[in-house]
Amino acid sequence: MCLGIPGKVLSIKDEMAEVDFGGVKRTVSLLLCPEVKVGDYVLVHVGFAITKLEEEEAKETLKLLEEYLGREELD
């Protein structure tokens, strides 16, 4: 169930990561995924990373999301 959103880890400090979700950012706990590194893509649920996404596959999700929603950067 539940909303799991892919995001990219920008920085890590003490088991908390700053994650970028397609333009908005939030701190996320890495307590469930301690092996995650900066630059990794993670799947986030209720503010916790629940798994590392395989980069190719993660980009697929983001691409799917963007493709599916059909948006590009509007400026």
């Binding site: 169930m1 539940c2 799991g4 307590l31 469930l32 649920h45 209720v46 916790f48 996404l53 999700t61």
Partner: protein, 355 residues
């Protein structure tokens, strides 16, 4: 477009009526939002299962939390999904309007911050959700204990998916030809807990993601299994789900929670299908600290068919109350209120065939 190809492939492989159950409420919403039912060939029926934590939390458990919220100097925290669930005694939303301090949180970690900011108050987190959410709550409880927080308590109404699936199948009331299994629960538990389904019941399973493409691919994989007379648990959602799940998350769940018998709205009592805090964490267990007894079951409103809908026995439009006395503006049962309840999804997104 990828989806068009998948739809064509599904049409090609489809040969006769087939009933697939999507267990997870988030799948119900994704399917409805993308309008998937409308593009599938006739004869592929999608049933919604009991994977909506808000829908299956019985009224009496919600009332327990509401009673705590009414007490003085108490802050009740919950997830947004629960705010409008109707019970005979109102909802968290109406309780808030009457003056109780009820707050929606986004992450269980917020509970720690709120407890720290309100040292004079009792902060109770009414925690609901399946295996996707329980590890995050477990991690939070461990942290809270480390920091010695004395005013934070957890009321666990967490439930587990595999026991519910077993009960559904052993009941033999629903004929299911395949399961679209919950992608995010599976991130945590992996493939193994579902293996009894093909093994003991011969039913194909695919652990599926939530984008339309994922769901279509999952359906295709189920059709393939059926066509080839196979039954196994496959993973479509490979980018997120490993066969072994997330061991660290499960270890935290093990450390903090123990399995209990639990009542599910619609399905009744299911052995070892719920989670309660272990003895070690008793000082944070709302049930122990506030001496909460096993609540008296509160019966569902008459004519409410949520029970049958949760089991996949009825489709929302087949409930006599659907769209008439039971609508999102005045919901009778939780299937209509929860954003991912089958009835709500059907009503809001429509099982629509335009034109």
């Amino acid at each position: 477009m990828e989806e068009r190809n998948l739809i064509e492939a599904i049409k090609a492989l489809h040969d006769g009526p087939i009933r697939l159950m999507e267990v997870c409420g988030t799948h119900t919403v994704s399917i409805s939002r993308a309008g998937i039912r409308g593009v599938l060939p006739k004869g592929i029926e999608l049933l919604s299962g009991p994977g909506c934590p808000v829908c299956v939390t019985p009224q009496e458990e919600i009332k327990q939390a509401m009673d705590l919220a009414r007490e003085k100097e108490t802050v009740l925290l919950t997830f947004g999904d629960l705010m409008r669930v109707p019970t005979r005694y109102g909802s968290f939303e109406t309780l808030k309007a009457e003056g109780s301090d009820i707050r929606v949180i986004f992450s269980p970690f917020d509970a720690i911050r709120i407890a720290e900011e309100n040292p004079g108050k009792r902060v109770v987190f009414f925690s609901v959700g399946f295996e996707t959410t329980a590890p995050a709550v477990a991690a939070t409880i461990v942290e809270a204990k480390k920091w010695g927080l004395k005013n934070l308590f957890f009321l666990s109404a967490h439930k587990l998916i595999p026991p519910a699936l077993r009960t559904l199948l052993e009941g033999r009331r629903v004929l299911i030809d395949g399961f679209i299994l919950p992608g995010h629960v599976s991130v945590i538990i992996g493939r193994k807990p579902y293996e009894f389904i093909p093994r003991d019941f011969g039913i194909p399973c695919v652990i599926t993601g939530f984008e339309p493409q994922d769901i279509l691919e999952g359906i295709l994989m189920l059709l393939k299994q059926k066509r080839e007379k196979r039954a196994e648990v496959q993973i479509q959602y490979k980018r997120a789900v490993r066969p072994e799940g997330n061991p660290r998350a499960r270890a935290l769940m093990e450390e903090v929670f123990e399995e209990r018998d639990s009542r599910w709205r619609g399905l009744g009592l299911i052995p070892l299908s719920g989670l309660g805090l272990r003895e070690n964490f008793k000082e944070m267990d709302a049930q122990r600290v506030f001496d909460l007894k096993d609540p008296e079951p509160i019966p569902d409103p008459p004519n409410c068919k949520c029970a049958e809908i949760l089991q996949g026995l009825l489709k929302p439009p087949e409930c006599p109350l659907f769209g008439k006395t039971c609508t999102p503006q005045h919901p009778v049962g939780p299937c209509m209120v929860s954003s991912e309840g089958s009835c709500s999804a059907y009503y809001r997104y429509g099982d629509f065939h335009a034109g």
